[in-house]
Symmetry: C2
């Protein structure tokens, strides 16, 4: 049985999902107040920017995951957004 | 700012994740007993086959997600496994 390339794999009743690449980073904070501040700032950034990353967080950390847009590739827009997220976190951590 | 292809996107401190394509299917059962039987049979199949799909289930359904192997492409091996999973489910549903 020879290997078949991904694009032709089809099993009736099953869906083939191609997930876009992601940029992901975990930010650790010193307090829940800092975590909340980061989430608030990130919400503002998302609204002004139109990029709503996937967030996973608990008391003292937030993991931010930015998916590639529909074209399936990470572009400079995602990298620029990631750098803005870094800036938000740094501003909070440096008080 | 021009778009940069995915392979060159790098932001310091951020990890680039390329998720493999997936085959996914939701199986609905008539009782929790059927669901458990399917999960048991699937566990046996996984052990004999070495393919451990991602499972999400509740009382009367199981969603099975088969990821591509490390080479990043879905191959006939994954399709064959999906068909075996179909057979398990059909056997249970047909009592």
């Amino acid at each position: 049985m020879s290997a078949t390339p991904s694009t032709t794999i089809a099993v009736e009743g099953w869906e083939t999902r191609k997930l876009p690449p992601q940029l992901t980073c975990r930010f650790t904070f010193n307090s829940y107040a800092q975590t909340r501040q980061f989430l608030d700032d990130l919400a503002d950034l998302s609204e002004s920017n139109g990029n709503y990353p996937n967030l996973h967080f608990a008391k003292d950390f937030v993991t931010v995951t930015i998916a590639a847009p529909d074209d399936g590739a990470l572009n400079e827009a995602e990298a620029a957004f990631a750098r803005q997220v870094n800036s938000l976190a740094n501003r909070i951590l440096q008080g």
